[in-house]
Point group: C2
Amino acid sequence: MVDDTLVISKLKEKAQRVFTLIKNGSPPYLEIPVRTLSNTIWDEKAKMLRLGDRKATRKFFDVGEARRFMQTLLVMSVIAQARREGDYPTIRDIYYTAKHTITYQDHEGKTQRENTFDEQSESDEVIEDIEVMTGLFREEMGVMFDAKGRIVGNMLVKSKEHTIDLSKLGVGAYAIPPNVNDIEIVKVEADYVLVVEKGAIFERLNNEEFWKKNNCILVTGKGQPDRGTRRMIRRLWEEFGLPVYILTDADPYGFYIYSVYKYGSISLSYESERLAVPEAKFLGVTISDIYTYRIPKRYIIKATERDLKRAQELMNYKWFQADIWKKELQLFLERQEKVEIEAFSGFGLKFLTETYIPEKIRKKKYIA
Amino acid sequence: MVDDTLVISKLKEKAQRVFTLIKNGSPPYLEIPVRTLSNTIWDEKAKMLRLGDRKATRKFFDVGEARRFMQTLLVMSVIAQARREGDYPTIRDIYYTAKHTITYQDHEGKTQRENTFDEQSESDEVIEDIEVMTGLFREEMGVMFDAKGRIVGNMLVKSKEHTIDLSKLGVGAYAIPPNVNDIEIVKVEADYVLVVEKGAIFERLNNEEFWKKNNCILVTGKGQPDRGTRRMIRRLWEEFGLPVYILTDADPYGFYIYSVYKYGSISLSYESERLAVPEAKFLGVTISDIYTYRIPKRYIIKATERDLKRAQELMNYKWFQADIWKKELQLFLERQEKVEIEAFSGFGLKFLTETYIPEKIRKKKYIA
C-alpha cells in the first residue's frame, strides 16, 4: 500500500522549510532539481539516462516564478490531503482540485481575478517537480493515471492480502496497475521475461500459451509503456535476476520503445534508476533481420519521412552510439524500409513463436 | 475455448457451396449480408442497431468482384488452417499470411503480377464479411486483436480450468481478453455494473475499493470500448440481470460511447445482438448536470467545432430521438460547454464517489 505517513512527512518537510523562511522574515523559496534536457545525463557506466545535479530555486518574490511557486505548494497540499483521507486522485483530479480562482486587489486598488491553473499541463509539470523534489513517484504518492500493461506467466504476486497466481488467469491476464510497488512479487519460476510491443501479439501469445511452453513471463506495455509496466519488468530483473527480451516492429519507433525500457526516457530521466533495465536485450525485429530472414518484398513497408527523421534523432542520442545500432540505423536510412513483427506470419503462423523468438534467444542473436 | 470444429464446419459449408457450383459448371459466387449504413436498421422494439436482410452476391465472374471473392476464400482458408493447427493469429497476422503475389499471363500472353492484398484494411473488411456470413465473431474464430478492458468486483470466472476471483486481485485487475466467450461467469454477487469511460478513473475507484464499498462490478473500456469489454458487460446483464450504469464525460463523444454500449455501433451493427445492452443507463455526466450541480465556470470547457458537429450528428441518429436526449443535445448546442468527470473533484475528492454516483443511482437520476 501507499505509505501515507512517508508521503505526508516528505511533503511536510519541504513545506516546513518554506514556513520557517516566512517565519524568519526571509523570502520563501523551493529548491527543485532541474528536469530539462540540458540536465539529463547519459550515464555511460550505469547504462542509463539520469537527472544531473542542477537545482533551481523557485522564489516566491520573483514575478516570473511566483505563480509556479504557489502552484507547487497548492499541489503538495492536495496530495497531502488525499493521503490523509485515503483518496487516490488521478492527475486530472489534482488539476481540478487545485484549480480555483483567486480574487485580489492590485496595487492600484483594482479587483483582479486569476486562475491558479489554466491548463492541466501546468499541474502535470508541477506533479513531476514534486516527484524529483521528494524522490517519490506520483504513484507512490497515491496519484493515479491510465495504466495499460498486461502480464501473465508462472509467478505469484501478493497485493492487499490476496495472493494472485499469474499462471491461472485463463485467456485473460493481470492488468498492471499504476503503482506496482503496491504489489509484492512472491515467487517467479521462469527463465526470462518477454516484452512485446503490441497488445494484439500479447493476446495471441497468451492464447497460444507461449509463456507456458517456453517458461517465460509475458508482458506488454502496448506501445510506449507506462511506468507501471516498466516498474514491473524492472523488478523482475532486479529482484529475480531474469533476463529481459524486448520484441518490437523493425522501425525507429520500435527501437525507441526498446530504449525506454532499457535506458529510460528523456522527459522522465529521474525515473530511470527505478524503472530502467540496463541489461534488457533487443530481440528484434532488427533492420538486418529484413534481409537475413529474406522477408519478401510484399511484406516490406516503405519508410515515411517521419520514420527517417526519427532515425536521424536516434543516431544523435548517446545511448544509440553502439556500433551495432549505428549499423542498424545506417542500414535503415539507406534502404528506407521497415517491417512489422506480423510480417513473419508470411512464413507460416508458427514461425514467430517456434522459430524466430526461440532461435534468437538460444543463439544469442539479440542486441545486448 | 474456441470451438475449432464449429468454426471449420461453418467455413467448410460456405466453401463447399462454391465448390459444388464449380463442379456443376455454374459461375461461383458467395452470398454475403450487406454491411452498409443503408442496411443498418434501428430496431425500435429491441432498442438496438441491427443489420437488415439485404444480401449481396459476390461473383467470381465479375471483374469488379473477382478480387474480393478471391480474398474472401483466401482469408476463410487462413482462418480454417489456424483452427486446425491451434493458432491464434491477430487480424494483422491474417493480412500478412494471406498476402502473396500472383504471377499470371494475361490474354495477350504478357506476364502480370498482382498482390492478393495491398492494404490491411482490405483483409479487415473481408474478416467482417466472414463474420456476417458465418454468424461467428472473429474472436470466436480465434482471431486476436488488441484488447483494452479491465474489470474487478465480487465475481468468479472460469477459464482454461482455472477459477479466478475478481475480488482478489489487489490493486490490479482482470485484463479482459478479446474472446470473452472463452470465459465462464460462474458467480456474481453484486448489485450493478458501473462502466467508466476513463482508465484513470477506473484505477482510482479500484484503489479506493469503490466496487467493494458499493457492491458493484467495476469495468472500463478505456474510451471507445472493444468487443471483449462490451461482451463482458452484455453477459453480466443477460446472464445475471445486473443493471448497467455508464459514466462518461459530458460531451458528445462520451454520449456516443454510451450509445455504443447500449445500442451498438453503426459499422458493426451485426454485433449488437450479442454485444449491446439495451437497458444500459446513462448515469452522467449530462449537460444539464453542469447547471444542476452548479459546476463553477473555471471547470467548464468551451466546446470545439468538432464537438458541435458531433452533437449535430447525434441529433440525427434515430437512437438519440428520446426527448431527454434532444433536450441534452439542444442544451449543449446552445451553451456550447462541456465538462470532464474529474470536474467534480473541484467539490472535493470524495464528491464523485460518495455523492454523485450513489445519488444518481438511488434517486434514479439517470437517462434510461
